[in-house]
């Protein structure tokens, strides 16, 4: 049973066609609301958490415990004038934040959220290649960043974009190779030794993942975690928008809600990367009684990862761009190759 069929059941008096249409619509809206709410919660948690690390109190004036602060901020961003730079490339300038925003939200649709008591599986997309689609969507986000940086004709934005591109090309190959190692490991059940299908879909990988893959290949977990920090571009690797050197990188010339889109994209990417790590390496929604509370397992794992990411964000200073490119090409790439070979040997010899 899944969320789609449950909603179809509720509306079954409308006939087959109409009830399925409504079910698809409603489950999409449910996912959108979940994503939007989690973004808001995430930004609130980040601000409170950072404040506690710095021994401050954090937002506490708007609403009880400052819970309405984010809504106030969003209203402020919407109400602000969106200042347009004079020499901009108009189409690219306006489309860039939308690309980042939409790609971030679209990626959440592909996540298998696991099972929850009455509803059954909460997964929205039932495709056999969600892994490929996911990393396809992840590679859309840099397009938005590059468009936003170049179209503004600002020196800071251009520098930020060049750094962001240098960062992207140095971590994406190790990231994809470590994902490939996951696909190889999940092509054969390491309990019975039989070949199994579903290795290219996230839900298939999670269902094969009885022991978390992070235990089998810790090297892959390390590489993927570093790559995901770089993809979300927060503090040790926030080279694209390093706000103490380039004013704010490729988002320099953006203001108002267009900047808000980039901001939401950043936090959405932190959340998405935590989801991906917990799905691919930490066992996802697997656990005791996972047909009832699988979603909660996934949620807890993701939130712990989010807190670790925020701690990394707050604690570690930015590394220089040439050092990051060094790290990507000289360390991460060979290590990911070693990890790939190890994964192949593991599948061959472990029965």
């Amino acid at each position: 049973m899944s969320l789609l069929f449950r909603i179809h059941q509720w509306f079954s008096f409308l006939g087959n066609f109409a009830s399925y249409g409504l079910a698809y619509l409603i489950q999409s809206i449910v996912v959108l609301i979940f994503v939007a709410l989690s973004f808001v919660a995430l930004i609130y948690i980040f601000r409170k958490y950072m404040a506690r690390i710095q021994r401050r109190i954090g937002p506490n004036r708007v609403g009880k415990f400052g819970l309405l602060q984010l809504i106030a901020d969003a209203l402020k961003l919407i109400g602000k004038e969106s200042i347009l730079p004079e020499n901009r490339d108009d189409m690219a300038y306006k489309i860039a934040p939308v690309i980042v925003m939409i790609a971030t939200i679209l990626a959440f649709v592909l996540i298998p959220f696991g099972d929850l008591a009455y509803f059954g599986s909460l997964a929205v997309t039932h495709s056999k290649v969600t892994l490929v689609l996911m990393f396809g969507i992840l590679s859309i986000i840099p397009i938005g960043e590059v468009l936003g940086g170049i179209s503004t004709k600002s020196n800071y934005a251009l520098l930020g974009t060049m750094r962001a591109v240098a960062k992207d090309i140095s971590f994406e190959i190790p990231m994809m190779i470590s994902v490939l190692a996951i696909v190889i490991v999940s092509s054969r059940s390491y309990v019975t030794g039989d070949a199994i299908t579903g290795g290219l879909s996230l839900s298939g990988i999670v269902s094969n993942e009885i022991i978390p893959y992070g235990i089998i290949e810790p090297l892959g977990l390390l590489i993927f975690f570093i790559s995901m920090i770089a993809r979300a571009s927060y503090s040790p690797f926030d080279l694209g928008e390093s706000d103490s050197e380039l004013i704010s990188g490729y988002t320099t010339e953006y203001s108002g809600m267009r900047f808000g889109f980039f901001y939401i994209g950043l936090f959405g990417m932190v959340y998405l990367s935590s989801f991906l790590i917990s799905l691919l390496y930490l066992g996802g929604s697997n656990g005791p009684y996972d047909s009832y509370v699988g979603f909660i397992y996934l949620f807890i794992k993701t939130d712990i990862l989010v807190l670790i990411s925020f701690l990394i964000w707050v604690a570690i200073p930015r590394i220089r761009i040439d050092k990051f490119v060094d790290l990507g090409w000289k360390y991460l790439l060979p290590l990911s190759m070693v990890n790939l070979v190890y994964a192949g040997l593991f599948v061959l010899y472990i029965r």
Binding site: R52, I53, I57, P236, L311, K323
Partner: protein, 165 residues
């Protein structure tokens, strides 16, 4: 001879992985500690017992000796004329911060006038006052919109709420 240009070599420092982990640990500890910020208007924090700020005056005890204006290191205190009626006192006894005083007179009718804009709360005026007419208190919330920080002798006898009116 052709001058050769030397390439500047970047110092080779590896990325400090262990140091970063130590940093994360030492910063993560603070999540479980209490914040040090005090929310000022609601929570005034701890004020020490011997903290003093606002200067008060017992006008009946002042003898107009001008010692306070002479000892004041910032020239914050000046003497000012004030025709105070002292006839209503019983047996000529004045209660001050350190006990009762008898038979005090101020024949020149001059009283201290304090500029809080330059006062550094050194408490020398309180110490030197022969009749304990000037004394400092716990009150410190005298911020308000104004052009002058000077308190006339009349205002020095009043509480802060009355001065604002």
């Amino acid at each position: 001879m052709v001058a050769t240009v030397k390439e500047i070599e970047m110092p080779k420092k590896p990325i400090p992985v262990v140091g970063s982990l130590k940093l994360m640990y030492s910063m993560g500890k603070y999540v479980f500690k209490k914040p040090v910020t005090t929310q000022y208007p609601e929570d005034k924090g701890k004020i020490p017992d011997r903290f003093r700020f606002r200067i008060f005056l017992v006008p009946e005890a002042c003898v107009g000796c001008t010692l306070c204006s002479k000892i004041c290191p910032n020239h914050s205190i000046k003497m000012e004329n004030w025709d105070l009626d002292r006839s209503g006192l019983e047996n000529n006894v004045v209660q001050t911060a350190r006990g009762d005083r008898k038979n005090l007179q101020n024949k020149r009718n001059i009283y201290p006038d304090v500029n809080f804009g330059t006062c550094t709360v050194c408490r020398q005026c309180e110490e030197i006052c022969p009749t304990d007419a000037i004394y400092l208190t716990h009150q410190f919330e005298d911020a308000r919109t104004r052009n002058s920080f000077t308190y006339s002798p009349q205002e020095l006898t009043m509480q802060e709420e009355d001065v604002i009116k």
